[in-house]
Structure formats: structure tokens, C-alpha cells
């Protein structure tokens, strides 16, 4: 079976490669500031040029996240947003968008509690393409990765600057879709970024994997996106977007325009690099 060809993530990266373009991957937390708005925000991201959407599943204890995404989780949880609702949001998004890949990003416990079989079945039915579980490294994935794969869900894994070469090899072997390279030591939303150092690390990784290398942490505007776009296959922007949503939390109707403004600037900067 040509499972790979049918996966939206692989198709999208293949198309980008052919065009010489860099993927723009926004992250938003589902249910922030309230569940009713999430699907609109996803469509706004696509209209602004998003290639893949990482949809955050809110969690009470987001250990790898900084204050911006912590607060987004709290806002979403106040409204009762649970994994079940996030899957329903993806299904609703799919009614109007059958092409843009959607990756669920979050922590393991909501999936553990729902049950792995139930989750994978429902995620597939909803139109989810990939799953990035922050606190499930490959060695703890066990049978789950195989179960995900059976249901057409790609397992996206993280790589860090501190990851040893031996671990990197193991992770690349298990990874599907793309690899999420965490550019900084720290939590999401941290400060500065050295594009040259990131580039060097990515070059090492390219020797051991053909998976697209996407970089997250520290990308906040067109300039940082362009700098990373020069060395990576994709840029992931999370806290900068979520921070913008927080500023507009009292007036959610104004969020899509705000998202389009920041993502539009990044899209333009990335495409300028591609042409240049």
C-alpha cells in the first residue's frame, strides 16, 4: 500500500520541495480563548499561507511550555476543552479544508485516559494526519507508534541541541512526517535564536535522515522566520501567535486578521528567500 503517498504531510512537503519553498507551520492551542473560535482561526492560518497546522491539545500541566502557552491552556481548559472536543474541531475544519495537514501536539495523559485504540480511531476519522506527543519519546512510544501508523497517523518527534548522535539516529529512524528541531534550550516562548548554529546542527542531521527538518522555538516575526528558513525545511511559530491571540482574547472576532498579519509577514519573508 502506498500509505506514504496518501498522507497529507508527506504530500505537502514533497510539493514544497519541488517549489523550493519553506514550510510555514503555525501552532495554536485548541479552545483558546474559547472553543467556538478555533476552526475559524485554523482557516485564517491557511489563508495566510500556512502549510501545516499544529493544533495544541490543552493540558493542565504543560511542562515543556513557557508562560504564553501555559496561559493559553488555562484559557482553553476553563471552557472545558478536552481531547474529544479537539478531535471534533478537526472534523469541522475538514468540512472546508481537505488538504492542509493537521498535527495534534500535546501531552500524553489525555490520550492515555481516552485509550490508545479509541484515540487513534477517532483521530483518523476526524482527519488528523500526525501526532506530536511532547512527553512520549520514541523509547516510550512502544506499540503506540505502530497503532498510530496503522490508522494513518504519523508520529512526529522532537530533537534538541542536546540530543546525542546515537539518540538522534534512533529518533530519525522512528520519526515520520517531519522532525521538530527545538532550536533552544528551554521552554516554548524563550528569547534569542542563533540561525547559524541551528544551521550547523541541521546539516549534521541531514547526514542521517531525509525527513524534512522544521525548527521551532524563538521564531517571532518575518526576520527570524527568514533567517531560519534559510537553513530549515520549515519554520514553526507558536508562542508569537498564541501571544497575539491572548492580546485579542476579549475580541476573538479580531483574531483572524491579527493571525493573517503576522503569518502573512512570515510567508512573504520566507517566499522572498526562496526566490532570492
Amino acid at each position: 500500500m502506498n500509505r506514504i503517498e496518501h498522507n497529507r504531510i508527506d504530500q505537502r512537503f514533497a510539493a514544497l520541495k519541488a517549489q523550493g519553498r519553506t514550510a510555514l507551520i503555525p501552532y495554536i492551542t485548541a479552545g483558546d480563548p474559547a472553543p467556538a473560535h478555533t476552526v475559524d482561526f485554523m482557516h485564517a492560518c491557511v489563508e495566510a499561507g500556512a502549510d501545516v497546522i499544529e493544533l495544541g491539545v490543552p493540558f493542565s500541566d504543560p511542562m515543556a511550555d513557557g508562560p504564553v502557552i501555559q496561559k493559553a491552556c488555562e484559557r482553553a481548559l476553563v471552557h472545558g476543552t478536552r481531547l474529544q472536543h479537539v478531535l471534533e474541531m478537526v472534523a469541522e475544519f475538514r468540512q472546508r479544508d481537505s488538504e492542509t495537514p493537521v498535527v495534534l501536539m500535546g501531552y500524553l495523559n489525555p490520550i492515555e485516559r481516552m485509550g490508545y485504540e479509541v484515540f487513534t480511531r477517532q483521530a483518523q476519522a476526524s482527519g488528523v494526519d500526525g501526532v506530536l506527543v511532547v512527553d512520549m519519546p520514541p523509547e516510550e512510544a512502544g506499540d503506540n507508534a505502530a497503532l498510530f501508523a496503522e490508522h494513518g497517523l504519523q508520529s512526529i518527534f522532537l530533537l534538541a541541541p542536546t540530543t546525542s548522535e546515537a539518540r538522534a539516529r534512533a529518533i530519525c529512524e522512528h520519526g515520520e512526517g517531519y522532525l521538530y528541531y527545538v532550536s533552544l534550550k528551554g521552554v516554548t516562548g524563550a528569547a534569542t535564536l542563533d540561525a547559524d548554529a541551528v544551521g550547523e546542527q541541521l546539516n549534521k542531521l541531514r547526514r542521517i535522515t531525509e525527513l524534512p527538518l522544521c525548527v521551532g522555538f524563538g521564531i517571532r516575526d518575518g526576520a527570524t522566520a527568514a533567517a531560519i528558513g534559510r537553513v530549515a525545511d520549515g519554520v514553526i511559530v507558536g508562542s508569537a501567535l498564541v501571544g497575539r491571540i491572548a492580546e485579542h482574547a476579549d475580541d476573538p472576532a479580531s483574531v483572524p486578521a491579527a493571525l493573517k498579519s503576522i503569518l502573512g509577514e512570515m510567508r512573504e519573508a520566507l517566499d522572498r528567500e526562496a526566490v532570492g
Binding site: L108, T162, V182
Partner: protein
Amino acid sequence: MSRFHDLTQLPDARGHFGPYGGRFVSETLSFALEELENIYASLKNDPEFQAEFDNDLKHYVGRPSPLYHAERWSREIGGAQIWLKREDLNHTGAHKVNNTIGQALLAKKAGKPRVIAETGAGQHGVATATVAARLGLKCEIYMGAEDVERQKLNVYRMHLLGAKVVPVESGSRTLKDAMNEALRDWVTNVDDTFYIIGTVAGPHPYPMLVRDFSAVVGREARRQSLEQIGRLPDALVACVGGGSNAMGLFYPFVEDDDVAMYGVEAGGEGVATGRHAAPLTANAPRGVLHGNRTYLMSDEGGQVADTQSISAGLDYPGVGPEHALWKDVGRVRYVAADDNEVLAAFRELTLVEGIMPALESSHALAHAKKLAGEMSPEQHIVVNLSGRGDKDIHTVAKLDGIEF
């Protein structure tokens, strides 16, 4: 051979205790944990390291701690003889220092100039700040904002010891949130920072190494029982939040099949009310938090539940993974004591024996009293008196309507 021999062979190479434990962390932490695992593996059986640890326990902590026969209290209850393992007499006033001494030695060997820790009641924070002061390490303690309020005395002690106390405002503002924040600090400052976890939870190798450092309590208690009682006790009782003091007492007795063990969780307002911190007693579903799989209180959507207990030190929704396994295999019985029973035990021991126990330890005392009443005067119970109650005077006074 003991039918529980297999339990002494755990965890496996990847930190699993049967289906529990493991290393469920973000990739950003993997390096630090591998480094810690290697350091510990290289020192665990190093006689020089062990000698240094033992020397510190003897001359700095004041070990061995006495095994005290609470004769008057036993007589009043009219059942089994109750013996108290006096961890409250350690330097800093609780069992926590055993583990922090061990981990601080690891930090020193690893060449890390800065240590961080999470704390609930403040005992682990104080113990960490203490060893940091002694070794000249920079120290930051993460503490839930609610606990900072509940435990002002310990907060001030940490200040005096030169530590910075960071109140954590996120989530439920208690122990679990302090642990989240400490983990965030660690990923950010992993080059120069050692994270001293205060309980037998967290990602591998923490549950194992905290157990190993805490087990001095049980080794002493076992030897003292043979000397003072003339045989092993019939039962052991200890309170369980994350479970380090219980693990420390129980572990050296695992293969003594005739020694019954009781882990006493925080019943809060009563396990039936749902407002408690007793995941094992309440049969909470399996879950993953803070790097390990265990029994975890969470809602149907997998969001970690808020817990409720009069004692900040037990206010934790999960429990060490080794306890989770011990429940499943029936080596330990896990029960709960509610806030009222705990307060009664606190007052009773203070009045009858002149020993003021920590509210955490009072959970163990509350259950020991029940248990003793069902046993005969020829039988013996060893209770881990894991800490002293000075830090809880504000909490108890407040219930009496007294404000200082």
C-alpha cells in the same frame, strides 16, 4: 525465598517498575537524564562515595535516628506496641535531608554549581537549601503560591539559608505546579544546574535514586527492631504523598514476607468526597505525569485533578511508580486518613508523648492507632515519624481560631 524477591530487581534498564515508571519527558530533558543516570551508575557502588554519604549522614544529619517505643500511647490504645522511627530528630527536622545529602553529593561530583528543587510543605526545600548552603551551591526553590502562604515559616528558613524561593502561580499553585516549574528551569539551565527531586517520582532515574538514598531509614529500623524488639516488627506504617519516606522505610523489608506494610495517603475531606490526595486508595486510573506512568488523579479528559489535603507535603495527584506496582502485587496495603483523623493524631501524640509530629506524619499515626487497636500487646508496629510539626503550628492554630 521471599515471594517478593523480584521486587528487589527493579527498575529495569529503562526505569520501568512493571507497567509503571519510565522516562516520559520532552526530548529537551533526555540529555540531562542520561547524564544523571551515568553519574549515578558510576557512583552507586563506589565505596568512596558511599563512605562520604554515610559520613555526612552520621555527622551532619545526626544518624542513626532513634527507634522510640511510644509506651504510654501504646498503653492508652491498648493494642500493639507502637515504635516511632524518629526522622523528626534529623537535622532540618525531617527525613527529606537523607535524599538531599545524596543528590547534593551527585551534584558536586557532576560539577554543577547550581541546584533547584520543588517543594510542597517546604521540608524538601529547606533540606535542599541546607545542603546547598553547606556546599556553597546556588539554590532556587520552586514552591506553589498557595503553599508559600501555608508554610511561611519554612519559606523564611529557606531565605535565611540563602536560597531564592520562587512562588509558582500557574495551575493549582501547589506541589505539582512547583514540579512543572522546576522542570522548566532545568531544561533551560541544564548546563550548570542539578535538579534535586524530593520524592520517588519523576522520570527515571529519580524514583530509583531517591529510593536508594532514602532506604537508610529502613536499614536502620530493621537493625534497631532486631536489637530492641528482638525480632522484626509485625507491621510498618508510613504516610504516602509522592512516597519517599514510605519507600525509605519499606524497601529494606520488601523480602520480609511476614512484615505487613501500610502506606497512608491523604484522605483530605474523605476519599468518598473526591476531595483528597489518595490516588492509590481511590483506585485512580493509570496516567502519565512528571515523566512517569503511575496511578494519577485526573478527570475523564485526562486533565490532572486538583487535590485536597491539610498537609501541603502530601498534596500531590500522583504517586511514585514503585508504590503503584507494590499496590498491584499486594506487597503494601494503601489506605487513607482524612484531615480530622490526622488532626486528632497530631494532638494526641503531642499530648501523650510530648512529640509534635508533622501533619504528613500524622497520617501514618492516625492509621497506626487504628491498626494497633486491632492487634495484641505482644505485636509491634514501626511508624515512620517522618518529620516534626513545628512548621504546621500556624495551620493548627488557625483551626483553633488563633492568629499569630
